[in-house]
């Protein structure tokens, strides 16, 4: 009858299996999108309302009250281009960390590539990211934005860095969460730090000058390099480069508007770090997934 070989069940091929079960991934993403805003009047509009309100809160508090508007040209666009990217990261990582435990009922009963759940979470967040990107694009066009090849390249790279980083960390914390529910609380804390540890609300120049006033010159430059090596910092700066910088006029000094060596040095470093995190996350996930069914 069947000529196929005897195989060991339950040993998956990791993220490659996710590629093979694209259809299931598509259905899981569609399910999440349908279920997310069920029973609410505004429905998918919440994906616009929440970041919109968040933007105005930050814009008033930082732009108007703390007078960031004066120091930074087009501060609204500067702020929003960073916020949308950080929102994507926060939602993707937050949901991916909870996805394995959340789908415990299924994982306990049926074997399927479990990487699907964190990956689907990141995918769903990417779908929610799109309308925000659209709003950003419209705002940029009003501010006189004309995209070039480098800008589009930088935006895609920034998105890739965040998506890979969220997938890798999501796999890691999602798997760890099965054993220690501390994991999801730790992630919540991490996400709070993420917003402030990258130049979303302020500019990198303030970091450079701030560090220089507190520390000696040597220490300050080391700390600045550490700060800039954060893949989220790189991704946010890439978004600033892509969306905010083209809308500025000659008042903004291009030498300090974007950190030096952004495209030729920091971009590859960011992508490589994010890729490494994904590989490490996948490796940890595979080591831990053997006992998911009994621990959930």
């Amino acid at each position: 009858m069947s000529t196929s070989e005897l195989t060991t069940p339950g040993l998956g091929g990791g993220l490659r299996d996710v590629l093979r079960s694209r259809f299931l991934l598509k259905l899981l993403v569609a399910k999440e999108l349908k279920v997310r805003y069920r029973g609410s009047v505004l429905g998918i509009l919440w994906s616009y309302v929440k970041p919109g309100v968040q933007f105005f809160v930050f814009w008033f508090a930082l732009g108007v009250f703390l007078q960031m508007n004066r120091n930074t040209e087009n501060y609204a666009i500067y702020l929003f281009s960073g916020i949308v990217l950080i929102n994507f990261f926060n939602e993707a990582l937050g949901n991916a960390s909870r996805s394995v435990v959340g789908n415990g009922g299924l994982i306990k009963k049926i074997y399927l590539p479990r990487e699907l759940f964190p990956v689907a979470s990141v995918w769903v967040s990417a779908v929610h990211f799109l309308p925000q990107l659209l709003v950003l694009l419209v705002a940029c066009l009003f501010a006189g934005w004309t995209p070039g090849v480098f800008q589009i390249f930088a935006a895609v790279a920034g998105f890739m860095i965040v998506a890979l980083l969220a997938t890798g960390l999501g796999l890691f914390f999602g798997a760890a969460n099965v054993y220690f529910r501390d994991s999801e609380n730790f992630v919540d804390m991490l996400l709070m730090i993420a917003t402030w540890a990258s130049p979303v609300l302020y500019t990198w120049i303030m970091v450079r000058d701030g560090l220089a006033t507190v520390f000696s010159a040597g220490t300050a430059s080391v700390l600045l390099v550490i700060y800039q090596a954060n893949p989220l910092t790189i991704a946010v700066e890439l978004f600033h480069f892509a969306f905010w910088l083209p809308t500025t006029s000659e008042i903004t000094d291009p030498m300090i508007a974007a950190p030096p060596n952004l495209l030729d040095m920091w971009l590859p470093i960011g992508l490589a770090t994010a890729l490494l995190v994904t590989i490490l996350g996948q490796w940890t996930f595979r080591r831990l997934e053997g006992r998911f069914a009994q621990e959930l």
Binding site: S2, S4, L6, P9, G10, L11, R38, A293
Partner: protein
């Protein structure tokens, strides 16, 4: 005959008490590490089993004897601590039907989602969709959200998806008590039909009459060990004595 399932000396230990908090671990340390922080127990103890292609096997035993755990190892949901499990061809479980159902999706969406979870391709589900709906007798309610279904309708649809997945090896765990009596008969007839078509069946059930009707071979488990492997009637009569 070729082997469909090959289980070689698998053992599985479960931890009985999970201590996760720092507080409890600290108290345990201060008390001079008295006792074991986590007790273990053998759910499966050196179990070996070969199932030939086309065979229908009943796993029998009292509650907690390791039947479902063995089934989970065959499906790949659990991995053994020691020993190996190998299977040939696609294995699908009718393990707790409806595990992949989402209450807020319509019957139609759930058929696709559950079919994909059980390993069907988009093409297969498209082709079999009408047959799945027919078998479930859901009819016009297929586009209603599943949360409004009666429990019988829910199980019927879930069972219908599961029997249409068409794998080489079928794992059936305690789900033959589906719906009302006419539908139950239909389910059993469907399972017998699968067995007759040369599918390999592994059934876990406490319904001894039913098991004797569906299966040829019986395997009796006690405390995680196989204590008897014989034609199903003999095993059933031993359990009844």
């Amino acid at each position: 005959m070729t082997t469909a399932i090959e289980v070689r000396g698998i053992s599985k230990q479960f931890v009985l008490r999970h201590t996760r908090s720092i507080k409890e671990a600290f108290v345990w340390l201060v008390k001079g590490r008295k006792g074991d922080l986590s007790q273990k127990f053998h759910a499966l103890d050196n179990v070996s089993l070969d199932v030939r292609q086309g065979e229908s096997v009943a796993l029998l035993g009292l509650n907690g004897s390791g039947k479902s755990t063995l089934l989970k190892h065959i499906s790949g949901v659990m991995l053994p601590d020691s020993g190996t499990v190998r299977t040939r061809g696609r294995v699908a479980g009718l393990i707790e039907v409806g595990a992949g159902f989402h209450p807020d999706l319509s019957g139609r969406d759930n058929v696709y989602l559950n079919g994909a979870i059980l390993g069907m391709t988009e093409q297969q589900i498209d082709d079999l969709f009408d047959s799945i709906v027919d078998f479930s007798e859901i009819g016009q309610f297929i586009d209603t959200e599943v949360k409004f279904y009666s429990s019988g309708m829910y199980l019927r649809l879930a069972f219908s998806v599961a029997v249409h997945t068409n794998p080489e090896v079928f794992l059936v765990d305690e789900i033959l008590a589906v719906g009302d009596e006419p539908f139950q008969k239909k389910c059993i007839a469907k399972i017998m039909e699968l067995a007759a078509a040369g599918k390999t069946l592994v059934v876990v059930s406490h319904d001894l009459d039913l098991v004797a009707q569906v299966c040829e071979r019986g395997v009796l488990l006690e405390h995680g060990r196989i204590v008897m492997d014989a034609p199903v009637d003999e095993v059933v009569s031993r359990m009844r004595s």
